[in-house]
């Protein structure tokens, strides 16, 4: 993952590419190891699911742009949280590019755990040149 995204632990959440095709990718999150995002009362910090979609998108764009650009999260839209992840199972993050206008990308993301949909929504990314 380090090849494609600039995030590092503890913020790096995406661990492995499961499948990828043009405009679509599925990545895995080893959720049991991501205790950084768990509160003292054992509840999950739910915005981490937005971060999962953002990083999965960045992996896809990093591969496509040959890692020359950096994806910046600029907006989130209609992102619904249906359920908290269970602490003991891996998570799959599926993203599709929904629209593109130059360096602006609209991405739809869905998050699953054991086939159960946990959250879905849209994020907006802006690709800038890497420093």
């Amino acid at each position: 993952m380090d090849k494609y995204i600039p995030q590092r632990p503890p913020i790096q959440v995406v661990d492995k590419i499961i499948s990828q095709e043009e405009g679509k990718i599925i990545c895995e999150v080893d959720w049991p190891s991501k205790t950084f995002f768990i509160r003292k009362d054992n509840s999950c910090i739910l915005p981490v699911m937005v971060e999962m979609v953002a990083q999965t998108s960045a992996v896809m764009l990093g591969m496509r742009e040959k890692n020359n650009k950096l994806g910046m999260l600029t907006a989130v839209k209609n992102f619904e949280f249906y359920s908290s992840p269970r602490p003991d199972e891996k998570i799959l993050v599926e993203v599709n590019i929904d629209g593109e206008l130059g360096f602006h990308k609209i991405v739809q993301g869905k998050i699953f755990q054991n086939k159960k949909l946990l959250a879905k929504g849209y994020i907006f990314l802006y690709l800038s040149e890497k420093k």
Binding site: Q7, P10, F36
Partner: protein, 119 residues
């Protein structure tokens, strides 16, 4: 369990008067990004939820982000003022608009729906 959690970082950022002060050092900066510290979007979103919980003085669960714009990066040393506007509340679902400002600049503009937990 990690020795350190994001929750601790969030509590260190959020002050009693619901303002936000970003220190020069934050655990998150180790990974976001090495040698280029920027407060992650996930932190800004969680701060918005925590500010709302503080205003309501209730425990809440994030249900939906209707719309959220990150207008500029949140950087070390920034001091942010927060503005929370309660919109409607139906069946324990509270809609709210949350804005963060650095000086006069709008840094975050978010419309969210949270569930008020009665337990």
């Amino acid at each position: 369990m990690n020795k350190y959690s994001m929750e601790q970082d969030i509590f260190s950022l959020l002050k009693d008067d619901n303002t936000i002060e970003v220190p020069e050092k934050l655990f998150a900066f180790e990974g976001h990004f090495p040698n280029n510290p920027i407060v992650p979007g996930i932190y800004t979103l969680e701060l918005a939820v925590e500010c709302l919980a503080k205003k309501l003085q209730k425990k809440i669960t994030l249900k939906k982000i209707n719309r959220c714009k990150f207008n500029q990066p949140v950087l070390p040393g920034m001091k942010l003022k927060t503005k929370i506007t309660l919109v409607t509340c139906d069946d324990n679902l509270q809609k709210a608009k949350i804005q963060f400002f650095c000086k006069e600049n709008n840094v975050l503009d978010a419309n969210i729906i949270v569930e008020i937990n009665n337990n």
